[in-house]
Symmetry: C2
Subunit: 396 residues, 2 copies
């Protein structure tokens, strides 16, 4: 019986995580859940999974949740809210594993606290490593905590690395589907709509990550995460476009052997891998039939089509505050694109402009704490907002 | 400094093995070499690698080798021949690893002796496990010997299995290139020549294994080896046709993850994996560039086109003496095909007829010793020879 806390229980990963634990009765106990603003679903999860604590984003949400649960015959969980609430969920003394699946920097301080408490982390929150990678990895090492990546690509690499020792690794390769615009004429990319960008060919994911998959910024952020997770140099990290999303990641060893992890594009596979670690348990995910898939194809990412990937690679190589700024500016840009105040091609342009402005202002030092990372993030968002009108005007 | 004996040093695997050890001066010492009838190459290897013992197939060969080495300024190795000679090479007290790469059943008794001496085995001789799998694996377990498979497919599986525990394995899949006749109209297969069958699209290998790749008997024999090497049930073993020979093998775990090993089709990769085990060392093999490869394709093997694979699967399921008989009859059939006394389609037919005859005679009991395995092999060859005229006549 493993005891689990989930940060972001009503999000895509949180929900699939609960479906995995549900499919194996008696193996997992849900200790605490942190949700955001989907109170109806949080209430449903509280009734079904009987956690000891449920936290939501706001006080108003907490009151609404209280009301919704008051009719239940079962003893109600303790209901909390805000940053204190999510931190209580992350550090609950009964939890052995904390699934860090909240979206955005909101998950960073809570995940950091969980690491300080020595919890094993199943990591699905990109910001934790992109915004504060050095700080977080140092804490994980200090507290003997293993960070198990939930993300399908990093989870694939984590599995492949079992076939050798770290010093035997020559290179690792993350696959990218290439998103919905892999074949769109580049001249037409300026006019694609949020609706088109949100139609991902292989994966059903949240809004932000789906747009990031269309720009390939997602893959750039994953390279930054991979650098921290696997302690490799930037030039040991590569991306290959693989439209079928069957091969999730590959590790090239120095003897010329390449080990790859493949699977149906189903997040229950990496989630169950993290929850069951260090063993493997059966999952309800459909099994892979390669003869039925027929063809796996691979191509170099086109940096003209995907400038965001090139910008992210430069931020990866630059280090310091660059990855934190990259991520913050990108989050602003994606929101503006979804709200139709920014063109698709201007997402990368806004990120690049924010990085350049930070550099001109000499604000590129590596964050030394979670608080510094959050301050850099906050500042970068403000700069991106400042730059927005100018960049948005570029499109016309 | 690892000390190595090689059985079959002048064959394809033996030569590549020496090229790997040559590329890493100071890491390996060649203790003893066993060759067959290529005396000129055995002499060259003796001069270059300075083994303590060299054995060749016949007494006449040994005398010729003596003459060739008498001019050398260096102290000559001890020169031996025949089954006693190869066994001395296999059991040399200085050898830590024995590369078992002799072709045919001749390598079986010597490899078995090496296991009894507790040597680590790098196994490239198909007959060792196909003809006497139960006996050999029991000896390996008794003497705490690990059998490291050199064959690219089994070596791939060996690498993939590191990513999990054996009881977590659902299925393993060996890839088959499909050989030169994957697309030949089935009606024309009866008229293909040895020359056409020997033109393998991806690998440069010995004659027998190249013909076996054209019939897919090779893959059937590999399934039998895999069953012994990895202690799995016949229904956990699968084959997929993959014409590019880039993915060499895959392991499906119960959580839905599939781990695959990929690499350029270059035997120096699995050879170096066995020699360096449990670490990985750099090799001169070309690195894999998936974007350049572009496409990997997979299809179910067509059992009408490749009846040998279906016959081998039945022998695998039947167990007992069936795999030993299958292998012996196939070796006879391949030789007769190469010598143009048997049609391509009659290779499988002769193997099937030999198995049926053995069954009618009630000679299907599992061999209990290497001697029994050799007797079954010998007997099956005689039966195949008896059946030959009748089967050869079927073609016309």
């Amino acid at each position: 019986m493993k005891r689990i806390s989930i940060l972001g229980s009503t999000g895509s990963i949180g929900r699939q995580c609960l479906s995995v634990t549900d499919s194996l009765p008696g193996r997992f106990e849900i200790v605490a859940l942190a949700a955001g603003s989907n109170i109806a679903l949080a209430a449903e999860q509280a009734v079904r999974h009987r956690p000891k604590i449920v936290s939501v984003a706001t006080e108003a949400g907490a009151r609404k949740l209280c009301d919704m649960l008051s009719g239940s015959r079962r003893p109600a969980p303790e209901i909390l809210f805000g940053s204190e609430g999510i931190e209580r969920v992350a550090t609950h003394p009964d939890a052995e594993i904390v699934v860090s699946a909240a979206v955005g920097v909101v998950g960073l301080p809570a995940t950091y606290k969980a690491i300080e408490c020595g919890k094993q982390i199943a990591l699905a929150n990109k910001e934790v490593l992109v915004a504060a990678g050095e700080v977080v990895m140092a804490a994980a090492q200090r507290h003997g905590v293993s960070l198990l990546p939930v993300d399908s690509e990093h989870n694939a690499i984590h599995q492949c690395l079992r076939a050798g020792q770290n010093r035997e690794v020559k290179r690792l390769v993350l696959t990218a589907s290439g998103g919905p615009f892999r074949k769109t004429p580049i001249s037409k990319l300026g006019r694609v709509t949020p609706k088109q960008a949100l139609a991902h060919p292989n994966w059903k994911m949240g809004q932000r990550i789906t747009i990031d998959s269309a720009t390939l910024m997602n893959k750039g952020l994953e390279l930054i995460e991979a650098q921290h997770l696997f302690a490799l140099e930037p030039d040991q990290l590569d991306v290959v476009v693989h439209p079928q999303s069957i091969v999730h990641g590959l590790v090239e060893f120095r003897d010329g052997s390449v080990i790859a992890q493949l699977g149906s594009p189903d997040m229950r596979i990496p989630i169950s891998h993290c929850l069951a670690w260090p063993v493997r348990m059966a999952t309800p995910a459909p099994r892979l039939d390669l003869a039925r898939v027929g063809t796996l194809s691979f191509e170099e990412p086109d940096m003209t089509r995907f400038p965001a990937l090139a910008i992210a690679r430069r931020a990866l190589a630059a280090g310091g505050a660059a990855p934190t700024i990259l991520n913050a500016a990108n989050e602003v840009a994606v929101r503006e694109f979804v709200d139709r105040r920014l063109g698709f091609c201007e997402i990368a342009a806004l990120v690049e402009a924010t990085l350049e402005l930070s550099e001109r202002r000499g604000e590129m030092a590596e964050p030394q704490s979670v608080e510094e990372a959050l301050a850099i993030d906050h500042n970068a968002r403000r700069m991106a907002a400042e730059l927005l009108p100018e960049i948005a005007a570029m499109a016309s």
